[in-house]
Subunit: 268 residues, 4 copies
């Protein structure tokens, strides 16, 4: 089989035969590999020992990703549309930092961009069996969005008022040096994270803190309730595939294993 | 179009044409602006650098809010009802602190009141597409209120008994200097906030603490379960698309499967 | 109206006329008062200032509770049954500590028992409108009990294995001085309390800790899911009162405000 | 009744008469006893006082478990299948550490393996009334697995990006010495554990941390929602009372409203 442009496009974009699947797996390994190298490179002692290895690997990864990017730009019909699409920008951001590092002094800022490479995994996963499930979650969240926005606005109002109150009650001696810090503490407390870097020390402050915590206990139920009820209402993607319809009486939602319609007794 | 009293009332109270919508947006910007200024003003280093700017901005905000308040009082038919209403008081509290600061020495206490300005945003949001969603949440919470009250009372009983127990078991050396402090610790632990400012150090104390945490793990499910089941039961505002309207009496929100109007008995 | 034995029993046990309701309210005030006094008495600085007042109040509370206890024993037909019942023991424990304090040296241990007085509030609340709601919660929890027991056993197995692992990986230098302490840390982490009194410091320990936290994130969903689904299944006490049944076709679950049956159109 | 091989097999494998039930209870006591001894043995002060007793108990436990293991190997028909099965390996791991400790120097590593003995309890519990309930939970989790995998992958992407961001913003001075440590902090924060061993100290870092916490607040709803809706959909083992059984083919668990058996088509 010759490597015609059509054949290469199949390997890069499709997921049907062993060649295109091998391409996907190699890409997955490269993406995870490059992210792991970027992560380990930030550990000072590993960098001092394996710094050169890491740099060589980064060069290899970037060259391979560049080849892949050029291939995609060449193979895509509507090039401009790909380049300006979400995945096009993510693909570009995966290789840009390395080339920019020759011109820009502050290399560190480019490290975050390298972490974005992980987003590229989504494209490959999207085409597997996970698609319908991910769709289920994101649709449930989208449907809940308006309610969650209101909820977050309410939380922020509580955070502002409580942060201001604690700033006045506790003051700088307990670490509440400003209203923004008080709000930071209120968020830490209301979300039940509770770092403990700033804590109330006066009895009144501890009393108000107790109220905030009990409030947080009650309102943590709200987003969970919103998403739960939305998901319960929504039909599970699995269930859509897994039901039969009776050809005799038209009853829907019958189990895949059922041999007879439970409504009319007709054979399925 | 002349600025008659009727026209001004339309701009202030309604949300239909571009003039009234501009009024809403300007008000939103002013409210958020004033809250942000009040917040930043509490940061010591920002205050020392931009203190004068912050003060001038605060004067501008207060003058504009005062004009708005006077407008509302003048435009409302039932003035007394507005002034004593929830929104009337919130509107007054938005401007009062500034004027009071000339007479009262302790200006700090007025800062909290300025944070209350954020509550004014609710009025504007109430009239958008968020109304039905916010209604859904608040109705679900109201219906769950009796259950949540019982739940909180149970939690407080557990907190009192556990707080007393830890005060006796751990004692002042671990920070449990009194029963109220023990109760504060029990709330911090039971709500899974876990600051770590007070922690048990004896084996027995750590054992009791473990029991409290596992208990908290089990009972955190209760408020979530209450709100979730309440929301699942309740009709989602979105679902209103899937309802029928009676052509005889115009009753809305009827079930798709209903054959007769439940209000007038007319066939659907 | 004479204070016959029957009349006194009505006042003490019933909740129908103003006399018995006043008795309930006075009892509520006494119970909360005695608990608050016991709590404040544990604060060292308050004790040194108001110690004598607290003691006199405690004497008054105990005398009144003793009179009440004697009344209940006298009024109840089946005295032995009352004395050995849950409420009988709670009532006795409310007064016993004070009398024991004359004979027992270690008065502190009796303080916990005083906190148990709060349990007496339950009896009074039980007879109000909260009964059906509390019943709903406790029935949901009872039905979920077998599942929650399995869940807690699974959690404890995870805690034991993770606690042992962390004890070996981190060792005493990070505070993991023994397996029980490792288990205490695992519970603190798995329940997302996270005090921070013991934290992993080695990279391997932090990696294992991350796995435990992600595990905890996933399994916190289990008890909530159990209780939520149990509550969603169960009929809400409110709903039981608030439905009508059609007398024409026998359709159930109709809204209280409905005037016509939505199934057959018959007038309700 | 003679102790024939068949009789011993009944006692070891079945749970029907008093002899086999006594065997189960004794085994339960031995398992819990051995785990508790291993746990207490790790506490330095207990080891120095009761070290010899602990060692003797460990010898006794191991001898008894060895006898049990030999019995199982002897009694099982398909020996190889048992030895290589999950329970076979767990049974072997329960006794192996002790014998290995004579050859291996690092005894400590064997302690974790001793903790695995707790897994043996599962076999005994499996045959009680908990079976259907545990089945319900594990089936709900299995059905949610694909969704939870996607969710965990999303969480890990967020963790990587946030960990990198905080490493750049906060730097080593606040404890963010590398990206892996930043990711550890992000997991600690996102799961609302919040140890407080690493906390942001710059205003920008605290602002980003606040965003992560609010995000964690919103997405903690997702796994709970997934499991809740899965459990609500699934038939509760308790509900099996409300099912019909087909008299033709004996199929169980048919819906109360079903008119025909879905397995054989027979009228119900």
């Amino acid at each position: 089989m010759k490597l015609t442009k059509k054949r290469i496009a199949e390997i890069v974009f499709d997921h049907n035969d062993w060649a295109s699947r091998t391409f996907d797996v190699v890409l997955l390994v490269l993406i995870f590999g490059s992210v792991i190298v970027a992560t380990l490179d930030s550990v000072a002692e590993l960098r001092s020992r394996f710094g050169t290895t890491f740099y060589i690997l980064e060069v290899v990864f970037t060259v391979l990703f560049t080849i892949e990017y050029v291939l995609r730009v060449w193979l895509t019909g509507k090039t401009l549309r790909y380049v300006t699409s979400f995945y096009g920008i993510v693909d570009l951001l995966a290789i840009l930092p390395f080339y920019l590092s020759f011109f820009v002094a502050d290399v560190q800022l480019l490290t975050v961009v390298r972490a974005l490479r992980l987003l590229r995994v989504v494209r490959i996963l999207k085409l597997g069996r996970y698609l319908s499930e991910a769709d289920f979650i994101s649709q449930s969240l989208k449907a809940s969005m308006a309610k969650i926005q209101i909820f977050l606005f309410t939380v922020l109002t509580v955070v502002l008022i409580m942060g201001t109150l604690m700033y006045l009650v506790e003051g700088p001696s307990s670490g509440f040096t400003s209203i923004p810090r008080g709000m930071y503490w209120a968020i830490v407390t209301l979300t039940t994270v509770g770092f403990g870097d700033i804590t109330p020390s006066t009895p009144l402050g501890q009393f108000i803190a107790s109220l905030i915590m009990l409030l947080g206990y009650a309102i943590i139920a709200v987003p969970t309730g919103i998403v739960s009820s939305e998901m319960a209402k929504r039909r599970n993607p699995h269930d859509l595939i897994n039901t039969k319809t009776c050809h005799s009486c038209g009853a829907e939602g019958l189990g895949v294993d059922d041999k007879f319609c439970k409504k009319c007794g007709g054979e399925l």
